[in-house]
Subunit: 366 residues, 2 copies
């Protein structure tokens, strides 16, 4: 496949009107591009896009018009319906490609794909009904985590399977739908690799970062992560192999567990297991807006336009904190704090659990 | 005057649809604000603004509607007609204030104002007709520069008065309009102070930068400027006094000549003379987008919203180059150059002398 030549003044189509779409549209503007955001619901991205279409993802007429008006298409979320992706792919280049979408939409496919590349994950088993859940629990053990194969995010679609739990109740509780059962990984920290693969096959990652979640939602990201340099190199290598295998174009985020084991002889061994993929710009890469030469949003736009990737060099060690729900009420104090870079998404209502903004702080160089 | 409380989701009104308005609108979006750009001509800012109005600056009906829909008003250019400013000031807070506009719109007023603060400028004399031009030349000498009092930029509205020149021809050539005659300053370099004054009277400047012009258009800015630290402090002090005297709110740019004289005893003496003021974000501050914790665009938005100013700390020494006219054809090579941050304004036609974009390079720390 060759890339159509995208140039200044051309239009990037973006599916999804959330904050990721918003930051993608702004990054496109920096590079002289127009943006057209398509989403069923009005959202923060509509405010900065050159054009927007409010229509459902199964509205073929609206999709056809959208495809005709843009030069390349991307998305801000991995749950783009398969029909929508297929419909658009037939009309315009869509990056990342539908294989990446399909793989990351299904936790079972995703883990099978990762293991096929020799990349470790938590142990897992397929669960289709009560019977297979019992067999899976026998194989994986307890405690373990039952997850829906599809549409899970921020801890949604998950249930712990503890000692003594009634398996059929757990399965019903999660909606009696196709699931996987995952073993619990005893990790030291959660890290992520945010990187990008260009149209030419080049791969560039930012420093591996370290994530802290609260109530299953990302709270803090720090870069670089506090891990051995060889482990960081290994993590980036995994992300690169994943992107290569998917013939991926754009920014990809790979969440991993960092596992630290002490052997009886006192030797410390670090290892990694991939938790999940996001075929898109990612919350754990937001610090790149203020802390790196090229932001993840610009990098994604460069990649999907068939342009060369930019430098991922850090300005300094950096910390990003999400503003969830009423956290955003401290915006004025944050504006007052020297060296803090504040980002607000312009959402009117600060519902609990809703990502309202984030802020970044460059840390003193050591 | 107290500031109306601007909050996330509110709308910043911007007069002017050029690249400065575009970058202001994007900075507003980062801070959770909506933007409404008002201009007689469609331009790059329309592509990123939440809303835009295309109407003349004397269209009171459109101005009234604009004022009613926004929460605070600013502008990207100093030649806002006095009527427009007055009309809007009666309805909404407008920053910077009309006194700053009026002062910077008239080269004579501007220099008189500066001298009244004890701030040196080139020697100058008022020219209203052929007779006063002859007297001015007798006073200032030759070569000197005849400039229209109003509407000059990028070298437009200027004529050299050399030995032997026919004064009435020069005066007719420049349109026989109110002018000033300026003495030629023998400067070592042109520098500018880009700083901001907050609603609370605080003042914060970025490092003084050094500018190179080609064909009267800014070509390169480097920060920090290659001047003595005491001279830099003096330059920032002048900008601060100017902003204070104007009761200014927002980003101000003060262009200065850096004069280096060697005394007969070998002693080197540095001094400054202010060339002109820009009551707005300025091309010589574009490097702050990539080279500083807070960009001039964000700082301007913070100030006009009555919010605290952000940190002006540099990441590293930095160089910004404008892409003028067909310079923009090298965009692809620039994307390929490691560490270059490229900004394109999305203008369709690359006319000679037209600012099409700029790029920034962080230089190695010494």
């Amino acid at each position: 496949m060759t890339h159509i030549g995208i140039r200044q003044g051309d239009t990037v189509g973006i599916l999804g009107s959330g904050q990721l779409g918003r930051m993608l549209a702004s990054a496109a503007a920096r590079l002289g591009l127009r943006s057209h955001v398509y989403a069923p619901e009005s959202g923060p991205a509509f405010d900065v896009a050159t054009t927007h279409t409010r229509a459902e993802y199964d509205n073929d007429e609206a999709l056809a018009k959208f495809a005709a008006e843009v030069h390349v298409i991307t998305y801000e979320f991995e749950n783009v319906p398969a029909h929508t992706a297929e419909f658009l792919v037939a009309r315009r280049q869509v990056h990342p490609n539908p294989v990446a979408l399909a793989t990351s939409q299904d936790r079972l496919l995703e883990k099978q794909f990762l293991n096929s590349l020799g990349i470790p994950t938590a142990p897992f088993a397929q669960v289709d009904d009560g019977g297979s859940l019992a067999r899976a629990v026998a194989q994986i053990g307890r405690p373990s985590i039952l997850k829906t194969r599809r549409f899970g995010y921020d801890g949604k679609g998950q249930a712990m399977v503890r000692e003594g739990a009634d398996l059929s109740a757990v399965f019903r509780g999660i909606g009696a739908q196709p699931c996987i059962l995952e073993g619990v990984v005893d990790f030291a920290r959660e890290i992520s690799v945010v990187g990008a693969r260009g149209f030419d096959g080049s791969f560039a990652a930012w420093d591996v970062c370290e994530n802290t979640h609260e109530h299953h939602i990302l709270a803090v990201t720090r870069a670089p992560a506090n891990i051995a340099p060889e482990t960081a190199a290994q993590a980036v290598g995994m992300a690169s192999r994943i992107a290569e295998a998917l013939n991926y174009v754009g920014v990809i985020a790979v969440e991993m567990f960092h596992i630290v084991k002490k052997r009886p002889n006192g030797e410390v061994v670090e290892s990694l297991a991939v938790n999940e993929l996001a075929p898109r710009v990612h919350n754990s890469g937001h610090w790149t807006l203020d802390g790196s030469v090229t932001s993840q949003f610009e990098q994604h736009i460069r990649a999907i336009c068939g342009w060369p990737l930019g430098s991922t060099r850090l300005h300094a060690p950096v910390e990003m904190r999400n503003l969830i729900g009423s956290d955003v009420d401290m915006w004025r104090e944050l504006l007052n704090e020297p060296g803090v870079c504040l980002h607000l998404y312009g959402k009117r209502e600060a519902r609990p659990g809703r990502k309202m903004g984030h802020f970044t702080r460059l840390l003193p160089q050591e």
